[in-house]
Amino acid sequence: MTSRFLRMQRARASRRGAALFVALFAAASVAVLATCLLQLTGASQKRQLASADLRRAFYLADAGLAEAYSGLTIGKTGNVGSEAQPAKLGRGVLWVVATEIDADHVQLESVGMCGRSRATVEMTVERGEDSVATLGVFAHQPLTVPAGSTIQGFDSSAAPADPGSGLLGELGGLGGFGGLGGGSPPVSTPAGRLGSNGDITLQGTARKPTVVDADLAPGVGHQAVIGAHVTHTGATAPRAAAAPLPAVELPFDPTGTGVDLQTPTPYIVQPGDIGIDHLTVATGTHAIVQGPCNLVVNDLTVAVGGTLEFDTDDGAVGVWVGDTLLIADGSTVVCSHTDPSLVTIQVASDVPARFGAAGKFYGVLYAPQAEATVGATAEVYGAFVADELVLTAGAKLNFDTHLDEVGALEILPTLLAWRLVELESALRHGEGSDPFEILGVDPAGLVTPAQAHADVPLHVVYQTLGGVTMTYDGMESGFDWTSVRSVQQLERSGLPVGYRPASVADLAAQTKPSQSTAAAALAQDPPLSSSALTTSLIAASPLTSSELTRIINASARFAPSDLKLILLANSPLASSVLDKTLLASPALPSADAAAVLIASSPLPPHIVAQILADALSLDIADKLAVLAAQ
């Protein structure tokens, strides 16, 4: 009995170890399985995260290119941040290195980093060119406008499609307040542009008065002389810098034999690249240049009674004249469209050129080295630029303001090539789990891409909000774009920059506080004092029309002088805001209201009409001052 009991005791003792072993084995198995599962899930998640980070890095690099490109469009270098001090965007960073390949080409290499991924993309752009067509009617030499001439402006984008309607020609010199439309609503005509690198002289006689509805821009140190019997509307300030006139280069050699037209059957210059020695349109003959066409010709002659037609139904026509351009008085030029950007005639030589054709020529004529004569019956709609411009009494030249928009597009850099340089999902070099650790930078010290553009020396001649012309020379970071009303000259790193009016808003947007600041300042509780509110709103300027309307509606919260300061800081004001300002005129003393109106001049016709009709509470002196500014 005893021995059996002892055996059972020993057996129990041996089973205790087995249970522990089984339990441990089970626990270990579960742990291994769980670890495997976790690893599997972790690896899958890691792969997905790496893939997402790679995509984000690519998008960051692409955003860097976009930022650099937008910088190039306003004359910046294209450099955005650097590897040592990148720009921060979201959870990643980016920087762009711009390399000048040559005078015309810039290569932008943009790197984006997110997580442990890195992407590099590269873009090469060709710099845009400043269009000489935006010079308007321009001569490098001193320019004299003889008696009986008419120089105006028009906007071809708003013109009727039918060039024969004559509406544009009938628009009188009424300064921007509309033309006489035979009972139709007034049509607003923009001012023309008449410029020179020398003096400008406007002549007129009692029998042959001259009408110049255009801004006069004489050369640096030169002046505009306006004689008797001249009706002039527009500015007369001299240019801030001489306008260069680049020489014309023929795109290809005119190797074909010449064409002498003898029969009245129209001769058609076919679309494409055509190079011929000469094209002579004799009396009673008719030549049609069909676009799209690049015609290079040594001599282009249209005799009295000859007709030269530009058919731009299917595309633009470009004519390059290597030697002589002679479009005789009494000949005819016909254009199928009223868009001057569709027809360009460029003269490469210094042989005197003549443009005397009757009929309306919608195009751009450019002869940078030649003396060009405009005949008495000529009517040019577009731009006319020459070394020396000789206007015959009776000539009519009309600058198309739409060419400014076309020119603004030409200034934009053009994309030549884009390529993906590198996509690396797990960086082999460096340590860390995010780009800040990898690069060793403090995210708190990084700026946004818009603020990370390389600082460059800036030279700008501009008009302040108060209408004063100022010059700034220094680093761009030290310049306050919010104080600029308009720019007359802009150079970055010593290079002239094609300036577009819209750029001021773009530039100011990079430095000014968000516009929502205005709404926040107005809604602040407890309400800010008039001066504090004014300081805040001026800092947030330019404000939108709706914000300004809101401010005028709350004019009781401002001292009159503070309200004036805010409105001046946002001048020129939109028509809708001006209406509100006038309604709020009791809140503004006469002198302050006049200052606001002058800063927003030229005023819309209906406001001028109200001033003339004494509908506004302006003192007589203030009223005269406002009218004088128109």
Binding site: S51, R55, A417, W418, R419
Partner: protein, 196 residues
């Protein structure tokens, strides 16, 4: 007397216990198998999905650097193609864009794998298979001369390129059997703009 009270189970008790145990084991086994099958199916689906997306991304990055004017054949919509020959820019030299060697993406000879080729049909051609298991026809499509899946294309293959303007639409269907023998099909689609 004490011997008659020894602890233990009768044969019937033991049989019932064993039967119940067997039932439970079978049920648990079935449950485990079902779960395993589902996991295997899901795993295959994830792998196919992941692979399809990765290949689509590779194709996107490749086509992005191409020039619209240098795509061969020109798969102007609604005509389409299962292969694309293109060139990517290497940069600009003397004002002119420099183009790299011709590259090719498409269904390989076996028609079930996506391949990338550099300098195709040249003696020094380089070829990389990007993925296998491409479905013979795009999901929902059959070889019957009809647009079965309503995407505007008729009898399109498992990899298809269509081009509208400078945008290339890429569609890819991968199909694979899971361990359980079930067919897993995944279709992905993207639109890429040629930057050059």
């Amino acid at each position: 007397m004490r011997r008659g009270r020894r602890a233990g189970f009768t044969l019937i008790e033991a049989a019932i216990a064993i039967a119940l145990l067997a039932l439970v084991v079978v049920k648990v086994g079935m449950l485990v198998k079902m779960r395993t099958d589902t996991a295997a199916h899901e795993n295959t689906a994830l792998v196919v999905d992941d692979q399809a997306r990765r290949v689509l991304e590779q194709i996107s990055y490749a086509v992005m650097g191409a020039s619209r004017d240098r795509l061969i054949p020109d798969p102007e919509s609604p005509i389409y193609s299962s292969e694309l020959r293109y060139e990517v820019s290497l940069g600009v030299q003397n004002g002119e864009v420099v183009w790299g060697d011709a590259q090719w993406i498409g269904l390989d000879k076996t028609a079930d794998q996506v391949a990338w080729r550099e300098r195709p049909d040249e003696p020094d051609e380089r070829r990389v298979v990007w993925c296998k298991a491409v479905r013979p026809y795009l999901e929902g499509e059959q070889m019957n001369g009809v647009d079965d899946n309503g995407n505007g294309l008729i009898d399109e293959k498992g990899l298809v390129f269509t081009l509208t303007g400078s945008r290339v639409t890429v569609r890819l269907t991968l199909e694979r059997k899971s361990e359980t023998g079930e067919i897993v099909t995944r279709t992905v689609e993207t639109m890429v703009t040629c930057r050059n």
